[in-house]
Structures are given as structure tokens and as C-alpha cells.
């Protein structure tokens, strides 16, 4: 079947199998490799994308159900070739090691802070529960999210 997917503001018509996951279509059909696959069963969060602003594990979403909804990947965070302030905060705070969880962390953290701009460190910790990281021990990711939240609040 043909579906129309809007990815980072650009709409594309894609031939998909009804049983295909959004993750498979993004990576294998469209070559959008900024979405990672870590477990394929909705546990690790590496394949997180935003669907209408809400984080979902794209390995658990059937591609046809994403039609006509706004799909955001990390590439959609940049503005005019500039990194998003949260991406810059990740850099400054050393929140990246192997980087495989980073796209999911960025999207989950950003979506949460958009809805809860006043979130403290403990709230952020809970927000990351569905995104596994094997390298950092989470502290520097939380440092970056906290710093970004503070900067956003202070304007």
C-alpha cells in the first residue's frame, strides 16, 4: 500500500507493507539512518521519533498508522544548519559517548521539556526511563537536560 509520510516537514509517498514498522520504513526504505534500532521490541528507546510531538518507539508503530502525522527525527531539530540548543547542551556537558542512544535521548528529553518546562532533575530522570544508555551512567545526559531547561526558562 502507498502511504504519505511527513518527515521533518517534508512529505513523501512510500510503498509499504501493512505489517511494516515505521522504523523499518524509515531506515530500510527511506535510508533515514538517524533513527537507530537497538532492540526491536520497544524497550531501549534508540528508535524514538516524535509523532505529532510525542515520543514513540518507531519499532512498535506500524508505518501506515503514521500517515498524515508529523514525524520528527533528530535531523528535524536543526534550524538553518545550526544545532538545536539541546544538542549544544549535550555537547557542552559531555552527554555523548558512543552516541547510539543520543537521538532517542534528545527527542524524549525535548518532548518532555516542552510539556514540562519546569521539570527538575528527578522528573527528568523519570522521563528517561524508556531510553537505555550503556555508556554514560545518565548523569551527564541529565546535566545537559537540566542546563537546557534552565536556559529555556531564563530565556
Amino acid at each position: 500500500m502507498r502511504v504519505s509520510l511527513t518527515i521533518n516537514g517534508r512529505t513523501r509517498d512510500v510503498e509499504v507493507q501493512p505489517s511494516q514498522t515505521l522504523l523499518d520504513v524509515l531506515r530500510d526504505t527511506l535510508g533515514i539512518f538517524d533513527v537507530k534500532e537497538g532492540c526491536g521490541e520497544g524497550v531501549c528507546g534508540a528508535c524514538t521519533v516524535l509523532l505529532d510531538g510525542r515520543p514513540v518507539s518507531s519499532c512498535l508503530v506500524l508505518a501506515p498508522t503514521a500517515a498524515r502525522r508529523a514525524i520528527t527525527t533528530v535531523r528535524g531539530l536543526e534550524r538553518d544548519g545550526e544545532l538545536h540548543p539541546l544538542q549544544q547542551a549535550f555537547l557542552r556537558h559531555g552527554a555523548v559517548q558512543c552516541g547510539f542512544c543520543t537521538p532517542g535521548m534528545l527527542l524524549t528529553g525535548l518532548a518532555f521539556l516542552e510539556r514540562h518546562p519546569g521539570a527538575d532533575r528527578e522528573a527528568l530522570r523519570h522521563a528517561l526511563e524508556g531510553n537505555l544508555c550503556r555508556c554514560t551512567g545518565y548523569a551527564k545526559i541529565l546535566d545537559a537536560l537540566e542546563a537546557y531547561a534552565r536556559e529555556s526558562r531564563d530565556g
Partner: protein, 765 residues
Amino acid sequence: MADGVKLERDLRIVGRPVIRHDARDKVAAATAYAGDWAMPGMLHGVVLRAPYPSARIRSIDTTRAAAMPGVATVMTAKDVPHNTLWTDVPGQTTQVGPLRARLHVLAENRIRHQGEPVALVAAETEEQAREAAEAVVVDYEALPGVFDPVAALEPGAPAVHEEGNLLAHWRVARGDVTAGFARADVVVEGEYRTQFVDAAYLEPESGVAWIDSGGVITIRLSTQVIEHFRDVAEVLNVPQNRVRVIGTYLGGGFGGKEDVTVEVYLGLLAWETKRPVKMVWTRQESLLARAKRHPYRLWYRTGALRTGEIVAQQIELLGDSGGYAYLSALVLLYSTVTAAGPYRVPAVSVDARVAYTNNPPTSAMRGFGAMQVVFGYESQMDRVARALGLSPLEIRRVNALRRGDALPCGQVIETHVALPELIDRAWSALGDPTPPQAPHVKVGRGIACNLQPYGRIVWLHDWSSAWVGFEMDGSLVVRSGVPDVGGGQASSLCQIAAEVLGVPLERVSVHIADSALTPLAGTTTASRQLYMSGNAVLKASRELRAQLLDAAARILDVDAAALEMAENAVQTAGGRALTLVDLLRGCARMGVPRSHLGVYHAPAGEPVDLETGSGKVFPDYTFGAHAAEVEVDTQTGAVKVLKFTAAHDVGRAINPQSVEGQIQGGAVQGLGYALLEEIVLEDGINLTTSFASYLIPGATDVPDVEPLVVESGEGLGPFGARGIGEPPIGPPAAAVANAIEDATGARVTQLPITPERIARLLGLL
């Protein structure tokens, strides 16, 4: 060293928390990991794996599978030119004799563990390849197996390999142990058990292979060891210069990508089909089939005087190698050397064995045998302290190794040991005690120390090479075979080159991990890359600086000793004398090379007889002390780590932010080992092949680890750095167990520390 001191005074880039070039790519999702790669006409490869832990293959019929839609090839053992794979010490060219271990690329007639590879399929789509693999008919005869190393060593146990189930046996005997126990005021015995765990990097094993120009089989994959190109060549029976491995930035390694993963299968499938082939293992496959960390049984008997001074120790270790040897003999050697911990023990015997079973194979994982024993020796330290009424800090201070002391194997520690400082820093950073939140909640504190070798065993004659050179516009290029697992391996090399050659970090570009195009740097394992490749880059950069300054001196007609390279120029005391670009043009005119290949050889030594304690095994060690504050719910057995501090003497932090990241991440992996992680097996069948059942720590499972970086400047690496990749994973399990005893009086002796185990210890079950 004089040069090091001089440089140190004005360090501009080394020692600063610079932003890593790879991190910039990673936040933008611009890094092309091994799986983020596709080629025109690419096939998809899958591995068919055995469902039985112990079986004989009567026959394999691939007829139906080969005829299925989209299938390009189905390969079994008979199609592999050379089906034997030797796990030598990866990346080394030095033969290590009995440490060589054999396995088959594809099973011939015997299955020794569940998940053993039996056949390969390549097809147009991954789905077609999986369907065809399921259509391969394998006639198995299930055989009795053995699933416990103690049972495996009993007479009459099913033989996993013809030569018997005892794979390796190391012994150390130092001093008179009997006399030592006789003069001890207290003798404490303990038996401990650790579990199978998985590296559980988020990026599964993956890669793409193709035949490049000149018929070179080219494999782009996620690996800690690009030198496995030699294994691929051996299996395909082609010259080694016809195989090229391109290592990608890894989505984590932790030792799990040290042995071969997909490269041999990809090489076979690309060679057979003459088409590009991609292979990505699923998480389930990775958890099922990849080598794990060895589970150990540890028996300790420790004798001490009233003062706390340890006078004798008797240690027995038994590890489970699973169905194949892989690196088990070496892992066991690390355990043997470090079994008494970072302490002076005048009389000690170690008897360490590792046995084959029909469990999943075990091999390298962060800590590499120096980890399991920490749970043993650090539990013992607390029990001895308790028996003598001493504090856990005091007993460690009394026995801490010092420069000039010898390990049980006879190796004399030649560098500063900062253990007392590390203990004090870790303990005091815990701050004020947390009051219990309810009457049934107990809070306690524990400490644990460790030592971890960095760099390879000295008789492996380890070396690393790196090329450093300027382009004509003054930009700098570093070429190194180093695989970057995410710890900042490549970025640190850039810092070192930029520092020595006086250019800003942004002017440096680094090319890594290509067996055909970058000088070989050896493996990213054994906490060795900053030490080895850092020294190679330092050496290359210093040589290059010397030859450039010599040229500058000729151009300027001054003494080279009066010149320095800084800020993209040659400087004299009077200021800027020659721009870098002018100098490089001058070099071109005079025929002076603008590059240098540096080779660093680690201090080498002859193999030692461990038993007689004859000397040096590793170049040096990194020491650490971790402290935990835990809360134990005495109604449910639940343990929560409230605070965790981790102190290490890293010698010199090249990038302090990366060092902190290694410490925090390693400690959290150690907390996963302590509290959550276990590959659960039932007669060799893995029951934990998903992240829903194999639990690694999530953000809410662990506290923020406070990293405490001590810089003694005493390491053998560049600018006095020590390795810090592995050390932080060692102490957490013992620190948590010691804190639990402090809180409840209950002694944990088995990992992971589940609520059920605590409930049993507290008499709730």
C-alpha cells in the same frame, strides 16, 4: 620526562574538557554506524543457529532453502575454505602457544552451545534470508550436556571437547601460606558466586561487506579489532593483503566486539556471491549467541593479625568457559594476577581453573577477569575488618599496596599507588548520612577498592603506530588504526597532536580504524589505547615537531632550541617568526617531510612462571576506590543505591570530561552487575534473550555517580596518563554488598543482589 614536564606547564589543549569531534557528529545524527550503510545491489545475510546446547549434526539439507525466492546462497561448513578459526590474542602477531583457542566458523558435526552457527544465508531481503534459514533442514541428535563447571570437572562428565573439560589452570604460590595462617589472629573464609552477564551495547553486531577494486574483500563493521582482517583472510584462504576491514565508530563495545562477530560471515557471503552483503544481528540473537562474562565461583580464606595486617590468603577460582575457549585462558590469567586485590599479602596461594560446559561461551568483557575477583577480595576485607573490630577504611589503609611492593605473581609495583587518598576521597564525598525514610528501611555504607591492568601482558610485545602530518594549508591529519568505541579514543589523539604541534584542535582531522589505510594501532581493549596509541601519536608529533623546527631554524638562521610551535606558527622569544604555512612551503622546497610515522613499543618482557612468582605480567595498573550508600527495605528485600562515589588515579586526564564519563558509565555498568543483570540459563538454554528480561540499568535504577579524578602523573601513557576504560566497572558490586551488610548485618555472597536473595538472607522467605 623532562619534555613532558616542560609541556605540562603550558598545556593548552591536553587536560581540558574539549568538545569531541565525534560528539558533534553524534548529536547531529551524522555518524554512519555500521548498520547505517547501504549499497546498490546489496544482499542481506543471516546466520542459522543451533537450538540445542549439546548435539550431533547427522545431516544438513539446504536444497529447499537454496531454491526459495530471492536466495543468493546458502553456506554450510563444507563451503568454508578453511573452517577453523583460531582465537589468538586478537590483533597481536606474537604467538602465545597454549593460549590459542580453536573454534569452527560453522559447525561441522558437533554442537557445543545453544546458538552455535550452523549455516549462512544471503538473500535479496532480510525477510527472505530469514525464511530460507528456517527452511534449512538440520537433523540433530541431542546429546547429554554439562552445565556447571564443577560438574564438568568430575570424572565421567560429558566431554565438551575431546581433550577434556579443563581448559586452563593457573597457580600462584608466594611465601609460606601455612605459616602465615598459623600466626594469624583471625581467619575468615568466604565462598562467592558471580553470574553470566552480557556486554549489552545498544548497537547490535553489524556490518556490510563488498568486493572492492583489485578483488579486495572489504568489510565495514562495528569492531574493537580491525586486525581480524587476518582471520577473514585465513578462513577464505586468500592473502592477508586482499582483505580490508574498515572499523566504524562503535555503538558501544565493552569487550563484546573484541572477538570476531559478523566479519567472517560477511566475508564468506560477499566472496561467494560477489555482491555487497549486509548483516545486522537482532538483539535476541546478540543476547543468545554472543560471548558473555565468565561466571565464577570464588573461595577465599584470609588470615590477619589484630592490627588488620593480612598475613596469608588462600584463593581458589573456577570459571565457566561455556562451549568454546575464546579468550578464557587469558581472562583467567587476569583473575589470577589480581586475585589478592590492591593489597600487600606476604603469603598467598591462588589456584584458578576454567572449564568447558555446554553453556554460552564466555570471553572478553570490560574488566576482563580482574572484575569477578573484586567481589571476592573486597567482601573478604570487610569480613576481616568486622571480625577484628576495625573500620573498613582502616583495614584497607593498613594493607594498601605501595610503590615497591610485589603482587602475588612477583611483579613489583613501580608507580605511585594513591589508594589511601582514593579511599578518603570516595568516602568523604558521600557526605552526611541519609536518614532512613521508615522504621523498616535500613541505610548503610560500603567501600571497595580495585586494581586493573592497563596495556597488554608484557610478553605479547605490544605496539601501536600512528601517522601525523601537515597539509600545505597548515591543517593537521592524524592517521591511526584505533577503533573508537565511544570513549573518546580518537579525540584524545587529536588533543595530543594539536598540543605538541601548536595548532588549534579545530585544525586537526583524524582518520581511524582502516586496516588498509591507517597504521595499525592494535585493539581497543585492555584499557590500552590512550596508553599505546596516545604514546604513538605523542612520539610521531614530537618527531615531526623536531624535524619542522630544524627546518625553521635553517630558514630563520637561528638555533632550533630557541624555537617553539604555537598558534599556527613558529615562535621565538621575540614572538611570531614564521607562519606555519610559510614553514611548510619551505619544507617542500628543501625536501623536508611534513609527516612522521611514530611507532610505540610497550616495555616487553619474557613470559613469567606465575607459580614461582618470577615477575612482571602487565606494564602497570590503575587503582580505584568506590563508596556506596544504600537503603534496604527489610520488608521486601529491595535495595536502592542512594549515593555512589568513584575515585580513580588516572595519572593524567587528557580530557577530564571523557574521564568522568568513563568513571560514571563504568560504575553504572558495575551497579547493573551488582543488582540487576543476569543471563539466566536452564540446562544451557538462555531464558533472557530480550531487553525485557535481561535488565540493564535505566535512568531511575541508579543514582548520579560522583566521579573523583585523581591525577598523580604516574602513568605510562602520554603526559603520565593511565588507562581508565575498564577500571571503574570493578568495585561497585562489592561496595554495594559491603553497604548492605553495614545496613542489615546480612552478608551477600551471590550476584546479582536481587530482592529475593536479600529477603532470604533476612529470613523473610
